[in-house]
């Protein structure tokens, strides 16, 4: 779906054409002079709100800003397991090798609930819903988050992630929201469980005793991170990260790439790649002089103009891209994201530095 409201493109076909041309160069020349993988500077802080379990705030240099609060509630799991409370089974026998259930594979998708508020939009407008669905999907993709919300066979945490976009969505806000959510989740803590087994959960009343949802290892490093979603565009043969509003307007294809950081040494991993309708599709095409009645061309019918545009290879005239991604770009993206000095590592390290 095209996030149309966000992309009021106020550029002429000639400007679009110029932008597209410069971004297609090798190396591309971006309007703000960044390298293709370079992010705009951003300001981030976590633990800004006292009441939620975790919170964060991120400001992009273009003035967009978001706040995320993460709240956790104890909920009863749907299917009560019968016979669990039989006292004879409940663990009087200490000799029995107690296989402590860990909740692996027990998590359910509806345990994470995300709500996004965008100024000027109703909460059932397509944009917030679409963004929420996309972010939730990415967060749940690895399965680790929801398993972590398992308390015992009768109870689980329900995570409410409330995202508040403070500014107008000047550019496509997905990366902003993903980064802020990521940071808030890193900051999120859950009270320490003191009850055992399948009892009604009871928690330590000392907030200091609570543990991170994404725990730290003994050296204070994160064992893993929440999924993060980045926006990548392709222009010609180039891939460009963190596109600005103008760059989005001329993108051939827009991709949302979700990167998971699983526990253990497996390293980063791309969980999903989703194409997004490029906003450039909706731009007004340029008309070649030869066909432009204003420039003296006569007797050219509408059909002829369209037919001519289809075959035109004129670099100077803006022709809205029709979507589609060159197959050979995919490995390039993967390399840029996952490589030793890849974008994902840089972003995650940066965010980890905010919370520690």
């Amino acid at each position: 779906m095209a996030p149309n409201a966000t992309t009021q493109i106020l550029l002429s076909p000639a400007e679009l054409s110029y932008l597209h041309a410069s971004l297609s160069l090798s190396p591309p020349i971006r309007p703000d002079g960044r390298s293709p993988t370079q992010f705009r500077p951003l300001i981030a802080e976590s633990d800004i709100l006292p009441s939620p379990n975790g919170s964060a705030r991120v400001c992009f240099a273009d003035g967009t800003e978001a706040i995320v609060g993460v709240k956790a509630e104890v909920h009863k799991s749907d299917a009560p397991v019968i016979g669990l409370l039989d006292p004879t089974e409940a663990g009087d026998d200490d000799e029995e090798i107690d296989e402590k259930p860990t909740g692996k594979g027990m998590g359910e998708d509806q345990w994470v609930d995300m709500g996004i508020e965008v100024p000027g939009q109703r909460d059932d407008d397509p944009l917030p819903l679409f963004l929420a669905a996309m972010l939730t999907e990415a967060l749940l993709a690895s399965g680790e988050l929801k398993d972590r919300l398992w308390i015992n066979r009768r109870f689980h945490w329900k995570l409410y992630i409330d995202v508040l976009l403070l500014s107008q969505p000047l550019s496509y806000p997905l990366p902003l929201l993903s980064l802020t959510t990521h940071l808030a989740l890193l900051d999120a803590k859950l009270p320490k469980l003191v009850s055992e087994g399948d009892e009604d959960p009871l928690f330590d009343d000392d907030w200091e005793a609570s543990g991170y949802l994404y725990p730290l290892d003994s050296t204070g490093k994160r064992l893993d991170n929440p999924t993060i979603t980045l926006l990548v565009i392709s222009v010609g043969a180039n891939i460009i990260f963190d596109p600005s509003k103008e760059e989005l307007a001329v993108a051939d294809a827009v991709l949302a790439v979700s990167i998971g950081v699983p526990t253990g040494s497996k390293g980063l991993q791309i969980l999903s790649m989703r194409t997004i309708d490029p906003p450039s599709k909706l731009t007004q095409p340029g008309v070649p002089t030869a066909l432009n009645s204003a420039a003296g061309a006569t007797n050219v019918s509408e059909e002829e103009i369209i037919a001519a545009r289809e075959t035109s290879t004129d670099q100077g005239v803006w022709n809205p891209p029709r979507g589609g991604l060159s197959r050979k770009l995919i490995p390039q993206i993967m390399k840029a994201v996952l490589g030793p000095n890849g974008v994902a590592k840089e972003v995650i390290d940066g965010l980890n530095a905010v919370t520690s």
């Binding site: 039989d86 009270p191 009850s195 055992e196 200091e208």
Partner: protein
């Protein structure tokens, strides 16, 4: 970008805003992170008389008087602290040494930090209440310093710091601040020392490193006079914590709280109050909401360290372990006589003797009667709430190693509580020799898994066993009766005129507002002889239309006791006046109870009047409630009134009025009986005492005169009328009294006994049916038989209780015993708090005065009801125990043969009731002859066939001749009437 983050204060004076974060789990299972903002201030005074700064900021009372400083300018001095000292105890010191802090002689000028107060509240609510009471005691000079709100003494929890460490640091910080603060106003040399009392070695070390004075509680106490006695008062359980080594555990471990709540919610475990059978200390019961009958807890291991009164969680045992309630008397002292209090090792939870006693019980498990059917048993898996209190007892002399009074060696002794349901308590003391033969007050501190008996500590000695003062005080303590003199704040609420207070002569006085002038009515009061707190007065006249105008006038106590004053709170806490044989513990100060409120004759008094128009058939034509002023014409005793009515020569209007009242009361009573009111009996005796010394000289059963019933009937009528009115006005918050219909199961045993022994049936389907069938329970050979059955039936009933109307459905308002749809207490506001509350509600109902907010909130009213229900019951118990004690004293040295009736048959003894003295007592087989005769018990027929040194057949309900002597009961140290077969 400016950060949105709120920074925590780093220095002490950087900001006045901080916050506290904690996790709260609600009852519904919600888990919340709570953030509380803390606003710090600098105007919290230190409240020392020495400090010149703080007097400027001390809070002022409403009338502009400044609050005087609490801490004395010249605090107590000692050798170590020649300039005097202020004490700052930490939480642990308060928890272990509460009894010490309550001492009159020492522990003055104590600074209770808010940190400590809050921590004590979390750890132990009863101790918290005592601590708060302590701070109100002006002599103790205890000051609550709100250190958590004072900027200089507030400490921020550091990362990785435990809550305890943080609180310890807060205490040290406050001590330091006090020290520095006082040195500003006082020269260093004259400045009193600020002494921190902490049992935590680490904390003390840190304090000393910071240049503060820190002492352990025992170290501080040993510097005081009479240190040995005082050291006994330190809580044992907590001090021993570190000394504990791994020992064998006798009792199973308790389940975790979460496991218990899960189990109770899921219905696999049950929660209820644990009670111990007065006849068998090894058998307890827990009444749980899930079952109609209580679950039985057998033996020590199953009762798992629960003490009678604790709220426990139980688990039902498998069916093969179910058994019948015991039909045998098992007393602790006979089975566990030789236990050694010192020796901890080699102890078993169940001694062989105890085990044998249990086995014999189990044999009985397969019976066929209702009584004999095996009943579900359960075991205790955890304690929700300990209801330990202070217990009165005496030191078991067999457990004392050296009774040398001079020996100051600490030894462990057993204290046997007066209440037989409480196990022996192991107490460590240095004054065992002195305490022998004394009534002592002790508390239980802990009961660990590795100790067979609970561990407690000595609080104080009440005096010699059997001395009147000690026994009376013991009684009051045992039944939790508040007997301390009224505090100054309470007495301040009395009218300034004192005894000279009069009803204002001028009827335009505000006191007369909305009051009816009933001074012309011929009102009189009828009470027991010597009554000084006259609650009620009556009058009656015939109306021209043949009907009668009848009035009940009740002392207008609510005029003097205004809601939410200190006096109101005190009365609400006391709940009721307690009548002992030789003593009365008043609910309200004497001035009100016996003078200003009392409807004394010949003086004008404020009253609350209920005025009816009754037909000659005693049907109510109309009822009217009025605040009034009356003047009683005479205060009769029951006998005087009876004589006056019977004396045909008296024809004055007052006597005529009384005759009308008597006539109407007979009709009322007949109507009530026809409706199914129960005529129940409880043994009541009156002690005749010598007027000078109040030593008992004789025991008489109380006599009922027609005038008793006269007063009673009109009080019932007034109560019912008022109940209706109040309930209509306040359907949610009316304070009413109900008597629930007892479940038929309660009567199962009695019904069976009557059928087997006498072929009588007891119809318990309704109160009317019960009343009728009780009337048929007569025996030609024993006139007392009917009374005996009534006494037994009364014991099957539930207790009447106060409640807020909104908590129950109107169908449940019913008073079973009185056969009334609705009932309350209105007629004795001098001696019962419930009546006072109802007075206020009625005053609001008739638009006399607005209703106090405390009587509008259902939850607060429920709290009041809960308290007065307990107080009411305790007052009754205390009264009975007092009578029992005096009966014992009156029969001291006597040897009588009296008629008795068998009330209950056990395998190894019978319970006999002696109507002459209203006493019941146990006759065991071994009391019947030596060597102990053999008893053959038939549980079906309720017969005990005794053969051997004594041959007798004892049957239930039989009349037996008993020999009454007295003895000092070894187990309780009480002088008790001892019964034997004549």
């Amino acid at each position: 970008m400016t950060s949105l983050k709120r920074t925590q204060p780093t220095g002490s004076d950087s900001t006045n805003l901080s916050s506290k974060v904690y996790v709260r789990t609600t009852r519904a299972g919600k888990v919340q992170k709570i953030v509380r903002e803390v606003y710090l201030r600098q105007d919290i005074p230190c409240s020392s008389a020495l400090c010149s700064e703080c007097s400027k900021i001390s809070t002022t009372y409403a009338r502009g008087r400044a609050q005087p400083p609490v801490l004395a300018a010249k605090p107590l001095t000692s050798e170590t602290f020649s300039t005097g000292h202020y004490l700052v105890p930490d939480t642990n010191a308060v928890l272990t040494g509460m009894d010490l802090f309550e001492l009159e002689s020492a522990f003055k000028d104590v600074i209770i930090l808010q940190t400590v107060l809050e921590e004590v509240k979390n750890r132990s609510l009863p101790l918290y209440h005592r601590l708060v009471a302590l701070t109100k005691n002006e002599d103790k000079r205890c000051y609550v310093f709100f250190n958590e709100f004072r900027m200089e003494t507030y400490v921020v929890r550091q990362t990785g710091e435990s809550i305890n460490d943080r609180n310890d640091r807060a205490v040290r910080r406050a001590v330091q601040w006090y020290k520095e603060h006082l040195e500003l106003s006082v020269k260093k040399k004259a400045c009193p020392a600020i002494v921190m009392i902490s049992n935590d070695n680490d904390c003390r070390k840190k304090a000393i490193a910071e240049g503060l004075v820190g002492l352990s509680l025992s170290k501080y106490v040993s510097g005081l006079e009479d240190a040995d006695t005082l050291l006994d008062m330190v809580n044992e359980g907590r001090e021993r914590e570190d000394a504990k080594t791994t020992q064998e555990n006798f009792y199973p471990e308790y389940y975790s709280l979460s496991k218990m709540t899960t189990g109770v919610k899921a219905g696999t475990m049950h929660q209820g109050t644990f009670g111990v059978s007065p006849f068998n200390y090894l058998e307890g019961t827990v009444r749980v909401p899930a079952f109609e009958r209580p679950l039985i807890i057998l033996g020590r291991e199953n009762s798992n360290r629960a003490v009678s009164g604790d709220v426990a969680v139980v688990e039902v045992l498998p069916k093969e372990q179910w058994k019948t309630p015991s039909s045998k008397i098992v007393e602790e002292e006979t089975l566990t006589k030789n236990d050694n209090p010192e020796a901890e090792d080699g102890e078993t939870v169940i001694s062989n003797k105890e085990r044998k006693a249990l086995q014999e019980d189990v044999k009985k498990a397969h019976g066929t009667t209702t009584e004999g059917k095996p009943q579900p048993t359960a075991r205790i898996v955890g304690i929700i709430k300990r209801n330990w209190r202070q217990y009165v007892g005496h030191v078991d002399k067999d457990s004392v190693r050296t009774s040398d009074k001079l020996s100051r060696a600490a030894q462990t002794v057993f204290v046997i509580p007066m209440d037989k349901r409480i196990p022996k308590i192991r107490v460590r003391t240095r004054q065992a020799g002195e305490l022998l033969g004394k009534r002592v007050l002790i508390t239980i501190d802990s009961w660990d898994r590795d100790s067979r008996y609970p561990v407690g500590h000595f609080v104080r000695s009440l005096g010699e066993l059997e001395s009147k003062g000690a026994e009376t005080e013991a009684l009051l303590l045992e039944y939790d009766v508040q007997y301390r003199p009224f505090a100054k704040s309470v007495l301040d609420c009395l009218p300034e005129e004192g005894h000279d207070w009069k009803v204002p002569a001028d009827t335009s006085d505000p006191g007369w507002r909305d009051r009816r002038d009933l001074r012309d009515l011929l009102v009189c009061s009828i009470d027991p002889p010597g009554c000084v707190d006259i609650d009620d007065a009556l009058h009656a006249t015939q109306l021209p239309n043949g009907n009668f105008a009848v009035g009940v006038h009740i002392a207008d106590v609510s005029n003097f006791v205004k809601p939410d004053t200190a006096m109101d709170r005190e009365a609400s806490m006391r709940g009721t006046t307690v009548y002992l044989v030789d003593k009365r513990i008043d609910m309200l100060p004497m001035l009100l109870g016996t003078d200003l409120c009392s409807l004394k004759p010949f003086v004008e008094r404020y009253a609350f009047s209920v005025l009816w128009e009754l037909t000659p058939e005693a049907d109510i034509v109309s009822v009217d409630f009025n605040k009034s002023v009356i003047r009683s014409r005479y205060a009769f005793s029951y006998e005087q009134a009876q004589l006056r009515i019977d004396d045909a020569s008296q024809t004055d209007d007052l006597t005529q009025g009384m005759r009308i009242l008597l006539q109407l009361s007979r009709t009322l009573r007949a109507k009530r009986m026809a409706a199914g009111a129960l005529n129940l009996a409880s043994p009541e005796v009156r002690i005749e005492t010598e007027s000078e010394t109040s030593d008992p000289i004789d025991v008489k059963t109380k006599q009922a005169l027609a005038t008793n019933s006269l007063v009673e009937e009109f009080m019932l009528l007034a109560n019912i009328s008022v109940a209706r009115r109040v309930q209509t006005a306040f359907p949610q918050t009316a304070l009413l009294r109900r008597h629930a219909a007892p479940p038929a199961a309660n009567f199962a045993t009695l019904t069976h006994q009557l059928r087997v022994k006498r072929g009588l049936t007891l119809d318990v389907s309704s109160s009317k049916a019960l009343a009728d069938s009780l009337d048929t329970c007569v025996s030609s050979d024993s006139p007392f038989f009917n009374t005996l059955i009534r006494i037994l039936a009364t014991r099957c009933m539930t207790a009447a209780e106060y409640f807020a109307a909104g908590t129950l459905a109107p169908a449940q308002y019913r008073h079973y015993g009185l056969a009334s749809e609705i009932y309350t207490h209105f007629t004795s506001p001098i001696r019962r708090y419930a009546d006072l509350a109802v007075h206020r509600q009625l005053a609001a109902a008739i638009d006399y005065a607005p209703l106090a907010p405390s009587l509008q909130s259902r939850s607060r009213l429920e709290g009041v009801c809960r308290n007065i229900n307990v107080r009411h019951r305790n007052a009754q118990f205390a009264g009975r125990a007092s009578v029992e004690y005096y009966v014992g004293q009156a029969l001291k040295g006597r040897d009588l043969i009296e008629e008795g009736h068998v009330m209950r048959v056990f395998e190894n003894g019978v319970v006999v009731f002696v109507p002459r003295f209203g006493i019941e007592g146990l006759i065991r087989l071994r009391d019947m002859g030596t060597p102990e005769p053999v008893g053959e018990f038939d549980g079906e027929e309720y017969v005990l066939n005794v053969t051997g040194s004594r041959e007798v057949r004892l049957e239930l309900f039989d009349e037996v001749k008993v020999r009454i002597t007295d003895e000092v009961e070894e187990s309780t140290g009480k002088r008790k009437v001892k019964l034997g077969l004549a």
